[in-house]
């Protein structure tokens, strides 16, 4: 059943560019898939451990800026630059997480917001550092090289579409694998009761930091993708609070701590945000944020485990839990 559904979805998504030839619609799909990828990366630390990050945009920004700066200043292809950016973001993510994960309470959420905002404000007000042009709030443009696959630049949107599909499948596969491994069990145990988990030998600091590292790495890759796709990056869009909140919202509304939840959240909220921005954005700027807020309140009230919960029940699978208790599994 799951296998059939997955195969059908895979075929549909792979064939989509054949049916959708209008660049605009393809662009919308790339946007949805990008958010699905980013929300899934966020989910690895926040969904599974219950530690809320509202600063993941900083990691995306670090990835995007580093890969772009390396291309501009050193001519290094973003295919490599994105991994350098991801390694740097991983280091930053672990440094931010380290002191917080030793404490109990909302410190991680507060620290991530503060860190991301400081980084954004600093970037917006920095024209140049050590001779490297950052161009402040204006942002950086990726130098155009025409059709240059080796430099992550393509004609048309179809290649970008397939790249983000591959990235999304990758992050989902990592999540799926993690959920079934010792690490997934430990993270969920920490989320439910950190003291209880530690009594069973779980080094909570180490596992929280591992999850943060994986999540930071993947988020930064997404940031680089975004910069290369739009060929433009600025502090507001690529490391602003809006992006952090959107990722968290998609994860929470869709269903935290599940493989499909954040993807579902992105598929619902990205178009909703796009439509409200397009139709009402001119008259009531910021209205999409009000709507996001309402959606979050409703989701918390009626579906605290996310939209994935009723869908699973519909499919007769109460949770990942019930699979574990089928006699012949594993």
């Amino acid at each position: 059943m799951t296998l059939v559904a997955t195969s059908v979805a895979a075929v549909l998504f792979l064939a989509l560019p054949l049916a959708v030839t209008d660049e605009y619609y393809l662009h919308v799909f790339v946007g949805i898939l990008y958010f699905a990828y980013m929300a899934s990366a966020w989910n690895i630390v926040c969904g599974y451990t219950g530690q809320l990050s509202l600063g993941h945009s900083a990691l995306s920004g670090i990835g995007g800026y580093i890969s772009t700066l390396l291309l501009i200043n050193a001519g290094l292809t973003p295919w490599i630059g994105m991994f350098i950016g991801a390694v740097c973001a991983t280091g930053v993510g672990v440094l931010v997480g380290w002191p917080c994960f030793r404490l109990r309470g909302p410190y991680f959420a507060l620290t991530t917001i503060a860190f991301a905002e400081i980084l954004r404000i600093w970037t917006e007000n920095t024209e140049e550092i050590f001779g490297v042009e950052l161009r402040g709030a204006q942002g950086l443009s990726v130098p155009l090289k025409g059709h240059a696959p080796a430099l992550f630049q393509f004609d048309g949107k179809v290649p970008y579409y397939y790249i983000i599909i591959a990235m999304l499948v990758g992050v989902m596969a990592i999540t799926w694998w993690m959920e079934r491994s010792r690490m997934g069990f430990y993270l969920k145990a920490i989320r439910a009761d950190q003291d209880g988990a530690e009594a069973l030998g779980v080094n909570s600091t180490r596992y929280l930091l591992s999850a943060m590292a994986v999540s930071s790495f993947l988020t930064a890759l997404g940031g680089s993708y975004y910069a290369q796709y739009f060929r433009y990056i600025n502090p507001e869009r690529n490391m602003g609070l809006d992006l952090s909140i959107e990722l968290a919202l998609m994860g929470i509304v869709g269903g935290q701590g599940t493989v499909l939840g954040p993807v579902l959240g992105a598929f619902l909220l990205t178009p909703a945000g796009e439509i409200t921005r397009a139709t009402l954005g001119g008259k009531f700027p910021g209205l999409h944020l009000v709507i996001y807020g309402l959606v979050l309140i409703l989701a918390m009230l009626f579906l605290p485990k996310g939209l994935i919960q009723p869908i699973r029940r519909l499919l007769g699978r109460k949770s990942a839990a019930s699979r574990e208790s089928e006699p012949a599994a594993a």
Partner: protein, 241 residues
């Protein structure tokens, strides 16, 4: 050679001296009861042994190794397991998954952790509840589940904090039987307990704490007739009698 040796550990919280120079030793295979009125320092003593906070002074040795000040997970890897006074199962995981968290202790593979968990749940007679989400369990089943999680880590020393609290008399008897069988497997046990019938019935020796200090240690019959103990529990009038 004692399995666990506690030498003069103390802990104070602000002005409150929760445990004052506590010393005792536990022999392999023994059940030691830790009793005392509320606030006597029993759970504080457990928290120090299990690595939840370090003692202010003193030393804790397990199998001749100094384990004072190690973190909870390191203590767990030295084969000391504990239950909590307030059982908080990993609520959105099933019974089986809860115990698998303990089962991953020694084996990284999911299949091995699962085998271990099924074995332990079978031992505790919880096989029919494998797929139940833990937050749906009764208080007594939560206690049993917590015990199962501990056993899945293959402990040599088990610290039980009020495992029969909230149980009916019949359930308490069943729990006593389980504790006896765990001891028969070779696990050494220290139990904090308020239900005297249980602690007196199971323990080889009983240690009585009062205001953080040891006021008596010995066989259950001797301790229960000790005037100092009676006074601590029941007040001056009974102590003199």
């Amino acid at each position: 050679m004692p399995l666990l040796e506690v030498k003069g550990i103390s802990k104070s919280f602000g002005g409150l001296q929760a445990v004052k120079s506590l010393s005792f030793a536990v022999e392999p295979g023994e059940i030691l009861g830790l009793i005392g009125p509320n606030g006597a320092g029993k759970t504080t003593a457990f928290n120090m042994i299990a690595g939840y906070f370090p003692p202010d002074t003193g030393q804790i040795r397990f199998k001749e190794e100094n384990i004072t000040g190690l973190r909870a997970w390191d203590i767990s890897h030295r084969k000391i397991a504990r239950t909590f006074q307030l059982s908080k199962p990993f609520g959105d995981l099933t019974v089986l998954e809860n115990v698998m968290v303990g089962g991953f202790h020694h084996q990284g593979s999911r299949a091995a952790a699962r085998r271990k968990a099924e074995e332990v749940l079978g031992f505790l007679g919880m096989t029919e509840r494998l797929g139940t989400e833990a937050h749906n369990l009764t208080v007594v089943d939560r206690k049993r589940l917590e015990l199962a999680r501990c056993l899945a880590t293959d402990p040599e020393l088990l610290l039980l904090d009020e495992v029969v609290a909230g149980a009916t008399p019949a359930e308490a008897v069943a729990m006593m039987e389980i504790i006896r069988r765990i001891r028969d497997m070779g696990v050494t046990i220290i139990m904090v307990e308020h239900v005297m019938r249980v602690v007196m019935g199971l323990s080889h020796r009983v240690l009585v704490l009062h205001h953080g200090e040891t006021i008596a240690i010995g066989e259950p019959q001797t301790v229960s007739r000790d005037p100092v103990v009676l006074k601590a529990y029941l007040g001056d009038r009974y102590g003199r009698a």
